[in-house]
Symmetry: C2
Subunit: 314 residues, 2 copies
Amino acid sequence: MAFELIKKVRLCEVGLRDGLQNEKKILTADEKMELLDGVQAAGFPVIEVGSFVGPRAVPQMADTDQLFMRMKKRDGVEYRALVANVKGVERAEACGCKKIKLNVSASVSHNLANLNCTPAQSVARFGECVDRAGAAGIEVSGSISMAFGSPWDEEIPIGNVQEIVEAYLNAGITEISLSDASGMAYPSQVYDICLKMKENYPQVNWWLHFHNTRGLGIANILTAMQLGFAQFDTSFAGTGGCPFVPGAAGNVATEDVLHMCEEMGIETGIDLDCAMEVGHRAESLLGHPASSCVLKAGKAKDILLMKPEGQTIK
Amino acid sequence: MAFELIKKVRLCEVGLRDGLQNEKKILTADEKMELLDGVQAAGFPVIEVGSFVGPRAVPQMADTDQLFMRMKKRDGVEYRALVANVKGVERAEACGCKKIKLNVSASVSHNLANLNCTPAQSVARFGECVDRAGAAGIEVSGSISMAFGSPWDEEIPIGNVQEIVEAYLNAGITEISLSDASGMAYPSQVYDICLKMKENYPQVNWWLHFHNTRGLGIANILTAMQLGFAQFDTSFAGTGGCPFVPGAAGNVATEDVLHMCEEMGIETGIDLDCAMEVGHRAESLLGHPASSCVLKAGKAKDILLMKPEGQTIK
């Protein structure tokens, strides 16, 4: 018996999108470009740059088009953005974004109340977006928020999540993200859901998106890693948050996940020191510390450099 | 294949000792008694009340004797304290403490520099404490700090930890705690060390003590749980800290561990709501928030009561 873990993971830095969109302070495009440059320099293979949604609904993301036009893309790096409708696809096309992510909530009651249709029906309505993106050479992925729990439901039956996965597959979308934006996922549940998804839909290219709202973000990632899941969203400095709980911890912190991977010998291709610089810079631009433990404590290995003489553990 | 976890854990609340001893503000005995009453009411099976060490070295613990004399002990609950030498055993005896914990650092270089002997030799010198405690009807357990890494060593070879375990066993001590006070443990290492310890010393009654310094406290506990380890130290509000890194996150937070156990159906015998009250009170007495995620966010189940209408996840 051994602790079986994957040897390599792919991380997507979502701080520019999910992190910043939950902040009261709106950064300027120049400040975002600085963070984006840092994220690129650190070597992330996937970067979520922003979203093409209404600027009145999410003013923090209003300049996503500008970021795409100003940035110098690196070979082999995927730059994606969140899109809600055909208008968003058109904006993506206009600014040279080549990868979009659609999203639907797994909460049936929430979807019925807001959109008067089930989540699977919502996905079916994405057909126009998929067609338009296909014509423009834009790759499409799909996300399922509230996959592990929602504020509107006692429980999200796994059958509901499977219906959405099948709707995505019917729409020709095979890259799917399970998201826990409300921070309700817990390890044994993550294990059960991920195992079932892996067994039932081996053709899917899975991503997982965890928040650390109740301290379980990394434990959930570790659990999924034991099942061979290898693609995770993380956010610099642990920025982000839970829209229902002001003051709660945010997305799982990039630096904490990278540090764990480095300690365990799991390859990421990302430079932890560079990523930590980005995290510190983000905190400085936002004007407050976020929720990364490693940014506060430094790397375990760095403690050796401090040579704390005479200190005793009592 | 299933996610195999134990069905029941025993948690020791160490906030009154490891939490408070790392705080600048020294609480009064009355304030500590209030927290102790709350911890008892919450139903913890084991409580680390304080330590019998020099009041000049650790002024935060100077009134541990008083707490033992004032408290109303509950049947079936174990009240333990940290002891460094025979004088500490005498203090324990005088105030009615029936369970003590000795400690040695697994860092050979640190021990040689401070005490001019190896950790195993340090344990052997505890013989007088063990004899004295035995004569007074006081149970003795042993702890190994820096078992997963130390600021003074590139690595702590597992052989060194085993030597200390054997020294404890030779001294007649079979209840042993592996401690990560420097917050350097990581899951694959925890797995390797715990597996070896369990296989080589099946007679030992193990405890594990993790800090959340670099965000891995709960992931480490979860990993050990997969090997059947079932006794963990936690600290209210995530109080505590790393003596080498000011501002770092503290011990793994009681509320976060309890919440995870409750979500996963793992029995603790502890009332989470009562424990959360203690955590909030501790933060209020200390005058600052500590590092518990659940204290900030509330329980996942409580989000249902909020019924956040019209909120959408963007």
